[in-house]
Amino acid sequence: MLRQALHRFRCLWHRRRKDAELDEEIRFHLAEEVEERIDAGLAPEEARATAQRDFGNVTLTRELTRETWGWAPVERLLKDAGFAFRMMRRNTGYTCAVVLTLALGIGLNAPMYEMLSRLFLQAPPHIEDPKGVHRVWLSERDDSDDRGVFTGPATAWDRMQWPEFSALTSDNALIDTVAGRAVRFVPNGRGQRAEILRVSWVTGEFLNLLGASPALGRAIGPEDDDLAAQPVAVISDGYRRQRFGGAEEALGATLSFDDVAYVVVGVMPPGFSGPDPNAVDVWLPLEHAASASREDNWRRYEGGFYFTAFARLAPGATVEAAGAAATIAVRAARSTSRLSDSLDPEVTVDLGHILRTRGPSSLRPQMRLPLIVGGVTLLVLILATVNMSNLLMLRVAARRRELAIRYALGAGRWGVGRLLVIESVVLAALSGVVALAVATVFGAVLRRTLLPDHRWVDEPFGVTAVGFTGIAILGIGLAAALAPAAYAARSRRIEKLDASRGARALGTPVRASLVVVQAALSVVLLSGTAVFFRSFEAARQVDVGYAKEHLLTVTIEKHRGDVRLSESGFFRVVPLNESAVSVLETRVREVPGVLDVAQGTSSPMTGGATVGGLRIEGLGNLPFRFGPFVNLTTPNFFSVAGLDVREGRGFSEWDREGTEKVAVVDTTFAQQAWPGGGAVGRCLFVGSGDDCTTVVGVVESALNWGLLEADREPGYFLPISQASSDAALARWRSAQRTLVVRTAGNPERLVAPVLGVLAELFPDLPAHYVQSLPGVFASRIRTWSVGTRLFGAAGLLAVLLAAIGLYAVIAFGVRQRELEFGIRRALGARASRLLRMVLARGFSLAAAGVAAGTLAALWAGRFVEPLLFDGRTPRDPLALAVAALVLLTIAVMASFLPARRASRADPRQALEAD
């Protein structure tokens, strides 16, 4: 087989030489023949003549011999492909329509497929027996009523705290190994040179459990996870390349996190990212990293330190049995904790798939969105295929005469079919090339917008995507050719009978229903766009309380300029330097465009802090589910941040140490604490002291988390100048400080100059950040903005495809009925009547699509419902109406060209033609 193929290939390659050789061979044969005849006694002239005669037709012999060389089919193929290219060049509009629809269909699908497969299907690379690694899930209820009884449905989390983790490891014969890790974004180095890295803090068994061996050096082992050991680090291959270049420089280098120096002892293999597809730069031993960042209480529930555990089972153990045993151990650990009241005692432990996306919890919105978008792009690919088939069909109809001539000249049914197949494959191949470009661009956009916080290990465009594209090209080329080829084969017979009458019925119901399907899908996508857009608009208009359009925040965290090991072995925190903060404030005020600057201990729209020991006069327990959250502020805070004072007053310069202690509460606090009203004048007891802190004012409640009314948490404010008297408040004041900067214009433009000031004043500041509140808000409503954009793009594409598809079908119908239209004109039908007739056909197809699409959209709503803002319904009549209107308009526009053609049908031409 191989030899034959090689031989054929050689024949094709040396075709010219083979031809010459064949000629020579035949010439030799003739010469021998002539010589033989001369030897037999014939005269040379006669010998030559008889030899020629007996040889027969030289050309035919040559042709027959050539046939055996095996390149005849190839040559035919090249000829057909050449013809296909010429046809495409001549019909630029048609070619562009097909290539664009297909390229968009494939180009959107390839990266989508790649992304979904990494997120949901494949276990991350370099993990030994990934099926044997289980992510540990805790299912618990986090709602408790007044008496502390847990209610509501249980939610699964792949996070746990140290007491639960140690319960998993001890006393469980069914679990072989357990390891944990916490991932953090941590700055390495200081000041402007600091780079933010994705760092994984791992227990000593972690890398062993995954079975991943380093490409260079050694992994982190159990002996490294000990404060007595030298701090070591293992880095990813990507970070090695980015930071060190060669391998020699990497091993032995030091990295600094939270002022601890780690020596790099190993480099993981390329592509390794641990148990998640999200890239990690550095792995550090948990003991060192957590102690440096969390001080002494990270092992206790109070420390609030969560991480994820992974387990391998003992031989023969089942997931269910191991989970049940772990459940008992974790419940026991919880019941003996000091904080057991706030922990669900009926927690259950499950061992799941290594990928979080395949765990037991319902999909998080940011994971649900890629799935839905994936479904949408697949629909677009199907639409594109349907369309290509329709367009080819139209081409066949337009070339009826040409094909009939080909048949008449003796081309076989197979020959004409082959021509059509080759044409579609050539079209599909061209589309594939364009699709690769689309895929590269779209892949990058997709990764940036859909999961902006996800960092991918490899280059954005991988092998699978290219393979997907290739297979799609072949599949689509063949599929798209089948219908027209079958039609062409049938039209052969029909040409003989009656070209225009017989062909009319062919495949029309099928194609019409395909157009209806396209229109229906467009309605679904368009209404999806509208639904997302309405959610987006609603979310955009949420009043967060702050004057967010004009705010910039500069956060300075506790400054560890002078780190020493204290006697207990942990790090001591050095307070923020108040004079340095004042200098920073003064310098920021000087930046052009800054109107005013206030200070607070919490950063607006990024959460808040609680300080223990708050009591409210007359109330035994605090009436809040969460919080209340405290913010120590300067007097101008409310006016700068844009929080309106609703009752009483804000702070003034007169509220200082020694004067009456005052507080301001927000409306949420006031309503929950004193539902009857009259907050001003009430007493709060802050910290350990027994003296009254008088509530002097009520300000509007701000949204520091989330976007819903339910997300408004109670908050109260104290003058920063009155914080020194209480130890807890004083500690909090010196831990974190935020400058709230009111700007004249868009705060985004001031981020760079303010960063410059910060870097100049605090070149050593380990962690700092400057945020514009519009930016923070934009990331909060990203789900809806991305949803709107992606659905919008897909919807636009779908409408475009539907328009092309409708055009193809209507135009095809008009072509088929040209004779009929001509006769109608001859019999006196008005042009406008014919125009209306064809338009009505397009309209009715679109209307059927709208009806089907509306039903489909109502059904498909369940998939997007969890993604919509504040329980908005996906079954939105306005959205559906808009979608229907857009589609019907497009349908009429798409039918207009063929309708005009029909109305101008020339009776004479039609009659002469047949």
């Binding site: 050789e21 061979e25 035949i26 030799f28 027969g56 027959l64 055996t68």
Partner: protein, 113 residues
């Protein structure tokens, strides 16, 4: 495969067998092969050139024979064909098949006992 040419007066497939058999005696060019068959069959079989060269090239494509340009006894360049190892095996197969066929045909032609 190539359809049997109407000019081929031999039973389809027989020509291949004759060519392979002829080449057992050593390499030969097309003219010599045709001449040999004609001579050995005492002029009963005349090979049309319109069949001969397609057959030679087909056998070459299948790898049963190989070709090489050599100078003939008379000093002219000629294309010599020789039997390959697979060709030799194929010859055995074809020969057996031919014998079975001829036995069968003979049986049919023999009057019933």
């Amino acid at each position: 495969m190539t359809p049997a040419s109407p000019r081929n007066q031999l039973l389809y497939g027989t020509l291949d067998l004759l060519i392979l058999r002829t080449l057992v005696y050593g390499p030969a060019h097309g003219h010599a092969i045709a001449g040999h068959i004609q001579r050995v069959s005492e002029d009963a079989l005349r090979i049309e050139t319109g069949s001969l060269y397609p057959a030679l090239h087909r056998l070459e494509a299948r790898g049963w024979i190989a070709a090489k340009w050599k100078t003939s006894d008379k000093g002219k360049r000629a294309r010599y064909y020789r039997l390959t190892r697979t060709g030799r095996r194929q010859l055995a197969v074809e020969q057996t098949r031919w014998q079975q066929l001829s036995v069968a045909v003979t049986r049919v032609l023999r009057p019933a006992d």
